[in-house]
């Protein structure tokens, strides 16, 4: 005996009720539960759908889906970072590397020879920070509206629209620069490193905040073969 479409829908609801938020993971678990239930029906055709489902869910152990959810998140984070670095590699290859080198040199020159450069950088940083706040807010709203409309949340998509990594790097860098007084150092090695790190962080942020959301659809199709089938 095979499961009906309504029962499959019930399984999706079951995973959602057990805190599996994302459609990619829901789909995999639904198929697993469905296979398990059908196997149970082979041996005992009189078993009710609910009893079969409960028995199958017990196989997942006392923690249910929680371990799977947690590890799924870390696997997707890894993929997300890999995607960012894939785009970043473009900037250390010709032709874009010319621009990268120019940016580093200009910034180095600016830090070394322009007085009050630390103030300019500080203010620029603050402006950047505000820009990020507004952008993140906007992207997040866009994602929530879309997720509500389609009823499906994809983990990778959520990460792309949360632009979380961009934020993280910006905040951390600020702390480091503030505590180590790198901007007022006279040592040219420190100044060179500062210029390089600033360019690196700007690139990282630019890619995670601007490039990835623009290419979200394409990246999702690449990561999830089921995306096409479910849209």
């Amino acid at each position: 005996m095979k499961l009906s479409t309504t029962q499959i829908e019930q399984l999706y609801k079951f995973t959602r009720d057990h805190y599996v938020e994302h459609y990619d993971l829901q789909t995999e678990l639904v198929d697993h539960l469905a296979n398990g239930i059908e196997k149970r029906w082979e041996n005992n055709p009189k078993l009710s759908f609910e009893d079969a489902l409960n028995a199958e869910f017990k196989e997942f152990g006392i923690f249910g889906f929680s371990d799977i959810i947690e590890k799924h998140t870390s696997a997707i984070s890894k993929r997300y970072l890999k995607i960012i670095f894939r785009f970043m590699r473009e900037y250390i290859k010709l032709p874009k590397i010319i621009g990268t080198l120019c940016a580093v040199s200009l910034l180095f020159y600016f830090i070394r020879y322009v007085s009050f450069s630390e103030w300019v950088i500080g203010f620029a940083y603050f402006g950047f920070f505000l820009y990020l706040t507004i952008l993140t807010f906007k992207e997040k709203r866009k994602y929530n509206t879309k997720a509500k409309k389609t009823g499906k949340r994809w983990k990778l998509e959520e990460m792309i629209y949360n632009t979380g990594y961009g934020w993280f790097s910006v905040l951390n860098l600020f702390q480091i620069m503030y505590h180590l007084d790198v901007l007022i150092s006279d040592n040219y090695i420190v100044q060179m490193l500062t210029a390089m790190i600033l360019v690196f962080v700007m690139l990282f942020t630019y890619i995670s905040v601007n490039v990835l959301p623009e290419k979200a659809e394409e990246l999702l199709r690449e990561a999830y073969p089921e995306y096409e089938l479910s849209v």
């Binding site: 789909t27 198929d31 152990g61 799977i68 997707i76 089921e226």
Partner: protein, 112 residues
């Protein structure tokens, strides 16, 4: 996972080896196959299998394919080129481990 913690470290190798032999497989199929091969001795739990599959996928060792089967979507896993190479390494590693353990536990034992 399974009957013993000893199996846990070999889960990735087990998955890679199964995929090498069977081409593409889905999660439930893997648990059943392991049960069948070991006559029910080894039971891979879902809580261990899926995280392992997702990790191998994130490391580009596995590729996924989705097909509509009956009235639901099924996710299949298969080895990538990198995954095939890693399978060879992992199996060699496991063989060495077994050999060393045999010698340690039973010094008179010989592989010949």
């Amino acid at each position: 996972m399974g009957n013993s913690k000893l199996y846990k470290g070999s889960l990735h190798t087990i998955i890679l080896k199964l995929l090498e032999e069977n081409g593409k497989m889905y999660g439930y199929e893997i648990t059943q196959k392991v049960k069948e091969i070991t006559n029910g001795e080894l039971n891979i739990t879902e809580g261990a299998l899926y995280p392992a599959l997702h990790k191998l996928e994130a490391e580009d060792l596995l590729d996924v394919e989705v097909a509509k089967v009956d009235n639901r979507l099924r996710k299949y896993y298969k080895l990538t080129e990198k995954g095939s190479k890693e399978t060879v390494n992992k199996l060699k590693e496991l063989e060495n481990y077994i050999r060393n353990m045999q010698v340690l536990v039973n010094p008179n034992w010989s592989i010949e």
